[in-house]
Symmetry: C2
Subunit: 232 residues, 2 copies
DNA sequence: CGCACCTTTGAGCTCGGTCAAGGGGCGTGG
DNA sequence: CCACGCCCCTTGACCGAGCTCAAAGGTGCG
């Protein structure tokens, strides 16, 4: 079996980290990619593991979580096909700072630190792309930090839903489906609140016709309504 | 007047972004550096400005703040000599996402995006260094995001003081001075709380002998005491 | 000396976290 | 196909950490 299919080629070409690379570098990266599969509930890596690989999700859904010293968990990101994770391997960090768990059966391509660092050494474009990716993360978390510090739960949850919709939204006749199987608990871990508060807010918004709230399934019926909640 | 002194040379060599660069690149960077001065209360850049320059603080103190859509401000970082700011100019972002204000009379060296990008194109080491810097930011804010989402005010403020001490601490016979003129208000904006709560906690800690709390001046007498508060 | 701003302290209140209980959907195994 | 059980979700009641508002010292600078 070849290590990748025609689909994988598309995925590499569509990933911002690999934009504008010379063909020989792309070929090299394709050759050094290793496919990895994890069943639902499996881990690509766990917080504290030695940091060895970067991943590009091909199929499935995963979540990135971080555990506090007292066991409180937060959900940093929930990702679908085409998303990178473990980008931190491009730095000199020794341990995984987060955990990557499959929400569904998932497959990813993966590269070792050495492969990527070699590429970065040879190809400034790659290093600069990586810089963009890192900077986007830093920006996102700065922004979420501000929201958490200054905004009420209702707004934060509205922002969370809108962000999820923009990252993993699928257009349906009824509205935009958030195409990730997230529980109330997990939404709470993203927005910085509890499952109970999430449940109450979603129920309220559903009764106002803003959303449809099902089991691990949310459809946003009136995005502009949510936006006005999120912005005040 | 020459554009930089012997001190400036030391500063470049000591900055992680410029580590391990070939001598000709370093020389080029020294040549393209532009000194900038701001009085207390002045701005190096403001949120929303066109993003043009990166800065390296040579003397003085500055704070990096972000303004929410409703005018709520948070303080992201407070920096002393040797610190970089405006690193985001290395990306393709068009606007400053934050404001940099001088807490004291301050001077910095600055470079344009073009100068830096040229350097990154020629020199992979520079691009990789930049990647480390960005990654460190992303990590820090991920961590602070988790703290804000999961920890009580008391712990967050303890963490904030310890972080400030590690970044801008000066050893004194009585303890570690946080060498930044921060008000209770500003500490609150860093820890995600109000000036009132900060004041109450500092008073309490002072009465326990953990710290000395003066006007825009804090000395940590028993770091390990604060650590045990911060960690539980 | 006076003013601006930093800091403290008290009183009251509210958002949202905690705890407890119960309903419901889905998958699995019989 | 049905039944069981696990997990997800909802709802109510309570309550407490910390925010808000108000007022009154301090402190340094012009």
């Amino acid at each position: 079996m070849p290590p990748f299919s025609a689909d994988d080629r598309d995925i590499l070409a569509e990933t911002s980290l690999f934009q504008d690379l010379p063909p020989e570098e792309l070929a090299q990266l394709r050759a050094s990619a290793r496919p990895v599969h994890r069943p639902r509930g499996g881990y690509f890596f766990m917080q504290g593991d030695p940091l060895e690989r970067m991943y590009l999700l091909v199929t499935g859904r995963i979540k990135i979580t971080q555990l506090g010293p007292d066991g409180q968990q937060i959900l940093l990101r929930a990702l679908g096909p085409g998303s990178l994770f473990g980008v931190v391997v491009l730095t000199q960090a020794k341990e995984c700072p987060v955990t990557a768990e499959a929400l569904e059966d998932s497959t990813a391509l993966s590269w070792t630190r050495a492969d990527l660092m070699d590429c970065a050494q040879r190809c400034p474009t790659f290093a600069l792309n990586a810089l963009q990716v890192m900077a986007a993360h830093a920006q996102e978390f700065q922004e979420r930090f501000r929201q958490l510090a200054t905004e009420r739960v209702e707004r934060r949850l509205a922002h969370t839903l809108l962000r999820l919709a923009s990252q993993a939204g699928r257009k349906l006749p009824e509205g935009v489906l958030i195409d990730l199987p997230l529980t109330r608990q997990e939404l709470g871990e993203m927005a910085g609140t509890t499952q109970y508060t999430v449940s109450r807010l979603l129920t309220q918004w559903e009764s106002q016709g803003l959303i449809y709230a099902g089991r691990e399934r949310i459809i946003i019926r009136h995005p502009h309504g949510l936006v006005s909640l999120a912005e005040g």
